[in-house]
Symmetry: C2
Subunit: 194 residues, 2 copies
Amino acid sequence: MVSNQAQLLLPLKKHIEEATFPMTNEEFEPILGHFDVIRRKKHQFVVQEHDQVRNEFWVLKGCLKAYFVDGSGKEHIIQFAQEEWWITDYEAFLKQSQASIFIECIEDCELLTISLENREKLCQEQHRMALFWANKTKFGFLALQKRILSLLKNNAKERYEEFLRLYPSLLQRVPKKMIASFLGVSRETLSRLE
Amino acid sequence: MVSNQAQLLLPLKKHIEEATFPMTNEEFEPILGHFDVIRRKKHQFVVQEHDQVRNEFWVLKGCLKAYFVDGSGKEHIIQFAQEEWWITDYEAFLKQSQASIFIECIEDCELLTISLENREKLCQEQHRMALFWANKTKFGFLALQKRILSLLKNNAKERYEEFLRLYPSLLQRVPKKMIASFLGVSRETLSRLE
DNA sequence: AAAATGAAGTGATGTAGATCACTTCCGGTA
DNA sequence: TACCGGAAGTGATCTACATCACTTCATTTT
């Protein structure tokens, strides 16, 4: 449970309202009660391969990367997360099984965490929260479809330009070689685009 | 609404039970009442670019492909569907906007259709159905994540082998050039693998 | 039954992007 | 202030895969 750092945590209220409908502070408080706050330094992990993944994370502050390491030791970035984004190993989290990826802070981070148990409890207690997660998954699904289409139909340059359009703020804080990995391109090729 | 072709429609009952929990025929009937049956011949479309997408489809019989046509007229296959799979243009369906893709029968098809309105009604009337679609979206999300990872880390041959492992039955009924398109490979290259 | 159409295989050639090797340019730290 | 490791740029070369052109075979159409 979270102590009263109201200012810090209001963004979550707004985030949930935007995907559902307005609520009072009294309604928000029990929701918040199902989350914890954690702090991690740059280079620390919130998930490592083979971990039991008990939590989903919501970024209050900072930036993270989720990546898979292939047989030859190469890193493939699945997802970034910055303020107000959600991140975890969803496969492992939703099936309560072992992580197949790493999630690492690329800046000092403050995160809200929620367990699957608490998430399901919240969904049952509050119709709003069931709707919230349903919407989140729905839009997450559509975003992944777009990324697949982009991988199928666009070349390296087009994918990079799309990334710039979609996530201009990440360009400022994420090393280019990680963006290359996210796009499925070598860092040398990315550097030569334009 | 559907007339009583109970035999034909029982697979849907089983499909829903598998993702939730058992039900009686009496419970199933009102669910079925929210669907319609349509029949389409090979080469017919169930969705065309710029259509309003009013329905989601569940395949009773037959096989379909969902594809995007790029600027140079090239087809990129997003998804196949065969018996007991769901298909539509989810972006357009969920946002009730215009299709950006085509969905075409590659065999004669019998499909169950449900509108977004009926789907939402069902979710409100029956807790089970809300759970059902939540689970479906969740697993759909995980499947898309796997496909992205496969596009990022595997070469053409590895992706083809993975496809064979995951969907052996599609190999029998779908032309190889469509599988090539689904995998993001030219049909010549696919033909030369192995 | 003949003709048209489309799926699939295959050779020759072109090219986007990977890989390797080296250099430069920082930002942290000792 | 010098040192070190990581980020990034760039040349040379390699390669996986695309593209084009042609052939064969099977299915559909007339």
